[in-house]
Symmetry: C2
Subunit: 237 residues, 2 copies
């Protein structure tokens, strides 16, 4: 298969196969697809554990929506001529460490973990997506904007937290623990995946040469987003 930069329409948004740009796009798309698959698995497990039938029904809908989002990303990987299964497999264990280090002790901790964990991961992918070709970027941003499960977490945690000062204090602490571990995941990803470093650098500057401060800016941005997210729950980040 060959593609050219001179093509128009959909073709023009597909980076040439074998190019660095192409390989980097497949890396980020693979990560996003894996994160949506993990979101499906977590939401499905949350549905099984949820205290009420209404929550079980709602969480299963969120799980199904994550499958649809993941498949939109997989379709893009196929579209640019790469193997979607291989791209997802490359990130197979991406959150295993995070999960092992942060076993939630209650339903509320579980909800907050999803909210904070997905939040950091989504923000990271959104920033890296700025370095993608236009077509892939559009898919990633659309998928991340659709991730509506945060709404449930916010509504529930807000209702529970505002009525219970001890819970609020405990959850604020848990949130700090979670964001530390989540930023650790991002740190390890950047060490292991030069493609992601290149995308973040490309996205954060108009110069394609990676500026040395791109990762620092990235962590500043991720932390600021986390603080805003916790504030929505009335929790101190």
């Amino acid at each position: 298969m060959t593609t050219t930069h001179a093509g128009t329409g959909a073709e023009a948004t597909i980076p040439p196969v074998g190019s660095l740009e192409h390989a980097d796009a497949v890396e980020l798309l693979g990560l996003v697809a894996q994160l949506e698959h993990v979101a499906f698995a977590r939401l499905a497990a949350d549905s099984a554990l949820a205290p009420t039938i209404e929550q079980r029904l709602e969480l299963s809908r969120f799980a199904a929506a994550a499958v649809a989002r993941r498949d939109r990303v997989l379709a893009r990987i196929t579209e640019i001529g790469a193997d979607p299964v291989a791209a997802v497999r490359a990130y197979d264990a991406v959150l295993d460490d995070f999960d092992a280090r942060t076993p939630p002790g209650s339903w509320w901790e579980r909800l907050l973990k999803a909210y904070v964990g997905y939040g950091v991961a989504d923000d990271f992918c959104r920033l890296a997506a700025e370095g993608l070709d236009a077509g892939s970027r559009a898919v990633v941003l659309e998928v991340l904007d659709d991730a509506s499960h945060a709404e449930l977490a916010v509504a529930e945690l807000d209702a529970a937290g505002s009525a219970d000062g001890v819970l609020t204090a405990r959850l604020a602490l848990w949130g700090r623990r979670l964001v530390g571990e989540a930023l650790g995941v991002v740190q390890r990803l950047l060490v292991q995946r030069p493609a992601l470093v290149r995308l973040v650098a490309l996205g954060s500057t108009s110069q394609p040469d990676a500026p040395p401060n791109a990762p620092t800016k990235l962590f500043g941005e991720l932390t600021a987003q986390h603080t805003r997210r916790m504030a929505r729950l009335g929790l101190t980040a």
Copy 2:
């Protein structure tokens, strides 16, 4: 809310609120919705346990499809003026006994359990659906016909079983255990839910008065379908 038998179009397919027919329809729709929800939960758990990424992706799609099917049934319950959450809640623990009695010992046993268990449940609901008003019947039959997860089980079990005589023999035994327990679930449902007995009776005869032999016919039919299902896998029922 009032509905009349004299209405035309969609209205004509809605049994009058408060009628026995109406209450019976809500019972069966609640059971079907619960079974689809259970299917979602099982398929999602299967996805987490599946040996390959391809299977994990495929099973998550089946899980998402079960959510869509369940929601089609819930929409029908709303349409006929009943509370969908209450209708599902009524069957909350419907497969708990079945699950406790049949813990699968391997991936293959798990696959066969889903195939046999869902098979019997679907067949039962299909037969009882014959006693429903036309609109509700159409929804139930459409939902049951879409249940495509059986295809995966058949393909996988067929491939594995044909290469391994010991596995085949063991699975045939497991299948007999499963169908016995599944028919036990149907038996208990008929004892606990007179509405389901009325629907089966209505569906199996042109006389609306329940013939005394309807349950016997039902179990004969369920067993015959199970035998056909096992034969598709090359297993003796």
